[in-house]
Amino acid sequence: MKVASSWSTLPDPQAAANEAYENLFKKLQKPPDLLFVHSSSAYDNQAVLDRLHLKAPDVPMQGGTSCLGVISEEGFHTRNQYGIGLLGIHDPEGDYGVGIAEYGDDPEKATISALVQALDMASRPGETPAAIVMTSCPGKEESNISAIEAYLGSSIPILGGTSADNDMSGQWQQFGNGASCREGISIAVLFPSGDVSYAFHSGYEPTQHRGRVTEAHDRILLKIDDRPAAEVYNEWTGGLISDTLPGGGSLVPTANFTPIGHQVGEVGGIPYFRLSYPVAVLPDRSIQFFAAVQPKKEIVLMKGTPDSLVNRPGRVAESAIEAAAFHREEIQGGLFLFCAGCMLAVEERMGEVVNVLNKTLQGKPFLCSFTLGEQGCFIGGENRHGNLMIASLLFGPIRTD
């Protein structure tokens, strides 16, 4: 197994695809057996995919749009909102497959369809993959995860990111082989010849502000402790959204460092959290999130800092290494899904993020996409969708000692 990353910030989609693929091929020396493709929504991404598909017609390709661009071991790749990144895996002993499906009126059915396509493409129908990588449009990630778990069981790690555009205008796309869609899901199934390791963390810590969800519908939080959610949130944040509260409005990027946390589990008496990003205050003083809010559950105001966001990717990578059967020096490469909101909050410090990751991964190739929601596998084995999270997937050899 060999892993390499490449990138391009050329504005022309075909030229960018050409440049990125050529560089990838140079590094791998051989065609990839799986290609992760993440590019900014500024591109005509179908043109990008067409060109890549032309260059590697039988190679499974999976990915989606990434906010502004990507980072790799070589830096932050964005120029005038153009940026494309590839992560190629050469692994003829392994099997990989990708499927893609539009939601239509049944997102869960579409998820299964994409999954079955991917398993068929890998020629592994019925077999349990080592990991699933998904990219979906915002809104149905929880359904995607439950559908995958219903089909494959809940013990398979699912990692992914919600495709993002550059300005929250809905230009996100999902990529699957040579195709793309805006309201759907693409899934890669991984049967590598080697091993994988993964981690899923946030860069936030809980505050003392907490309350119970007394009314919620899907991703809309109406009331906390029977009071309008926006009012409570405003109080918890010390008047952070006082200006937005009267008529409603976007909370991006205002709420970057103050998401809401949902307790997922507990370790040694200390809880760990899945995060929900408050997207907007609605006229009825409810709050819209990028992730579902569970009624009757306790929520807590989380707090982050620019420093914690900059260091967080390195620490997530470190957790994945800790969990791996292979050693740090045996890492072949990795894929990271990093919250776009977090990235925007520390955009000017992305060079530091790259340095942190390079230090942790000892300069091994990686690709990091910026997403509007992240999916990952928590320490307790729970596959979850969250916001302001970082998901990592590392590749290495199998060790039995």
């Binding site: 089909y151 040694g268 914690s308």
Partner: protein, 591 residues
């Protein structure tokens, strides 16, 4: 990063480490248990069965089985925790090929996989998910399969475990292979031993056949020419004697004529031996007492002449008083005895302490004597002539029975046919010869089968009346029919009522419905329980049951053990009427 977050992160890592450690410990324990199973179990199939149990917890399966690859690439079940999987056949598809290439595979839905889809519904209804991993030895490929009725039951953790267990299961397969190889080797060795035994018997048979043909040729030759030779020799012997009666015969001629006469006499002896051989099996048989023949021989002029010429040689006689009679040709047995004694005397004539011992005894033989591949089990009267000479070399021992083979000067002593006659005699009488020789001397033992016939003119000794029975019931227990018949005939003659059985088990069955006054119990019986076990069972039915023990072997631990339980005296086979009568009577009269 805040302190709280650092603490949380440290705890998360700790929890992860704990999880990994728990998994490693579970794996280590299971591997240890597996190794224990491999070390402790002697039967490889049993080892697999125990491995199934040891691995059930960590791999969390409901059923497991092992598929072994055939030469044609198909697979068949070697062993299974659930018998339903034993009656299955498998054709490898891409999944099995991947597993056999060393990659464990978890299946979340077996119905989607070609190898499983090809299985009958009765198998598929038992499971929905499966875990496969390879077991490899240099010579065999196999797949260990775990199954579960729940869909998507096996996770990546199970796959990691499977990778570890594959080493363990491979060792179980190697153990199976070693056992099979050992069994195959034993089979081949057994076959080779049997073949070697057959070859040995064949060589012996060929030797015997060759010798028999040589003897037959000599017999024919002798039969054809002996009469004419005797006529010719009569002239050579008789005329010199006539000439020697002439008193005026010149001294120088007398010596030459005496030499001619002596040569003629020796030539006549050779012809006589040839005629003895030529008579062979056709000679008439009668019931003989070897002891009496020894006595007759020792009083004969021939023996007298022999010892006269060999000054200082001591002839000892050590005979079994109750020696059983044999059915034989008198002339042949007499010749054999005479030839053996003559040879023995010849062997010690140069020694100042020359000793020749003539001994007889009764023997029960149930295993081949040295030089014979088999034996007719039974009673034998044994005549042994031993000397304390310098022995016969190994090289000469192989040829001593061949005609005219001699280390002595031909014609000077003997005819060269003495031992050939001995050998022929035993052949013709279904007997055996045992020769033992070393630097301290040589012993020829002649085994003649005994007869239980009593000559019409022979009377039972007076003393037998002392052992006459009053119709007491005797159960004879012996695995050999001839022994049962002999015992019953003797006991009937003594006035006992007899019943005989051929095994200990039969005896116990008989005694459930009958009672007897005394048992005549053989100690070595095959097949079935031996005499000791038989006696133990019988005294459970009849405590204190009286018994006399008979055996062809010497007194041994089993006999002593039986006697400790209450059995009576031990008599060695072959026993005489008197011995048997005495033993039975003694026990019956005891308290």
């Amino acid at each position: 990063m805040g302190k709280t977050e650092e603490l949380r992160e440290a705890l998360l890592n700790l929890e992860e480490a704990r999880k990994r450690e728990a998994l490693q410990r579970q794996m280590a324990e299971a591997l240890l248990n597996g190794l224990r199973v491999l070390v402790m179990s002697e039967d490889p199939y049993e080892a697999f069965e125990q491995l199934f149990e040891v691995m059930r917890d960590p791999l969390d399966y409901e059923a497991a089985f092992v598929l072994l690859e055939n030469d044609d690439g198909s697979l068949y079940p070697l062993t299974a925790s659930n018998a339903a999987f034993l009656d299955t056949e498998w054709q490898p598809g891409t999944m099995f090929r991947r597993v056999m290439a060393g990659k464990p595979v978890a299946i979340f839905d077996t119905r989607l996989v070609e190898e499983w889809a090809a299985q009958p519904e009765r198998v598929n209804k038992l499971l929905r998910s499966a875990l496969h991993f390879s077991i490899h030895t240099p010579e065999r490929k196999a797949i260990f399969v775990c199954t579960h009725s729940e869909r998507a039951h096996f996770s990546s953790d199970h796959v990691v475990l499977a990778r570890r267990f594959s080493v363990l299961a491979t060792q179980a397969l190697q153990k199976l292979e070693s056992t099979e190889k050992l069994a195959d080797l034993e089979k081949r060795l057994d076959a080779e031993v049997k073949l070697a035994d057959l070859n040995r018997k064949l060589i012996e048979s060929e030797k015997k056949l060759s010798r028999a043909r040589k003897m037959e040729a000599i017999g024919l030759l002798a039969g054809g020419v002996a009469h004419d030779l005797n006529n010719i020799l009569s002239g050579i012997v008789s005329y010199p004697e006539l000439l020697l009666t002439e008193t005026n015969l010149p001294l120088e001629h007398r010596s030459a004529i005496e030499t001619i006469r002596a040569s003629g006499v020796r030539a006549a002896a050779v012809v006589d031996d040839l005629l003895t051989m030529a008579r062979g099996v056709a000679s008439s048989r009668e019931t003989l007492d070897i002891n009496r023949m020894i006595q007759d021989y020792l009083l004969s002029p021939e023996h007298h002449r022999l010892v006269q010429t060999q000054n200082g040689v001591v002839i000892e006689r050590d005979v079994e008083e109750k020696l059983l009679p044999i059915r034989a040709s008198r002339i042949h047995v007499a010749k054999a005895l005479m030839n053996l004694v003559s040879n023995a005397v010849e062997a010690v004539r140069s020694r100042p302490d020359g000793l020749v011992r003539i001994r007889t005894e009764n023997r029960y033989i149930d295993r081949p004597l040295k030089g014979y591949s088999d034996v007719h089990v039974g009673e034998y009267a044994v005549l042994t002539v031993a000397d304390n000479g310098s022995g016969i070399s190994d090289q000469d021992l192989d040829h001593v029975f061949e005609p005219f083979y001699t280390s002595k000067v031909m014609g000077k002593s003997g005819t060269g046919l003495g031992l050939t006659i001995v050998w022929n005699t035993l052949q013709d009488h279904d007997g055996y010869i045992d020769v033992k020789s070393n630097e301290n001397g040589t012993a020829f033992s002649l085994y003649f089968p005994v007869t239980r016939e009593i000559k019409a003119d022979e009377s039972i000794p007076e003393t037998i009346h002392d052992y006459q029975a009053k119709g007491e019931r005797v159960l004879v227990i012996d695995d050999r029919e001839d022994q049962r018949e002999i015992a019953c005939a003797m006991l009937t003659r003594l006035g006992y009522n007899t019943h005989s059985v051929s095994s200990g088990e039969e005896a116990c069955a008989y005694l459930k419905d009958h009672s007897v006054d005394i048992l005549l119990l053989d100690m070595i019986m095959d097949p079935g329980i031996n005499g000791l076990e038989t006696y133990k069972k019988i005294i459970q039915i009849y405590p204190g049951q009286k018994a006399v023990i008979a055996s062809g072997y010497s007194l041994n631990d089993d006999v002593v053990a039986a006697q400790a339980l209450g059995a009576g005296p031990f008599i060695k086979k072959p026993y005489t009427l008197m011995k048997l009568g005495h033993a039975i009577k003694k026990v019956l009269e005891s308290e």
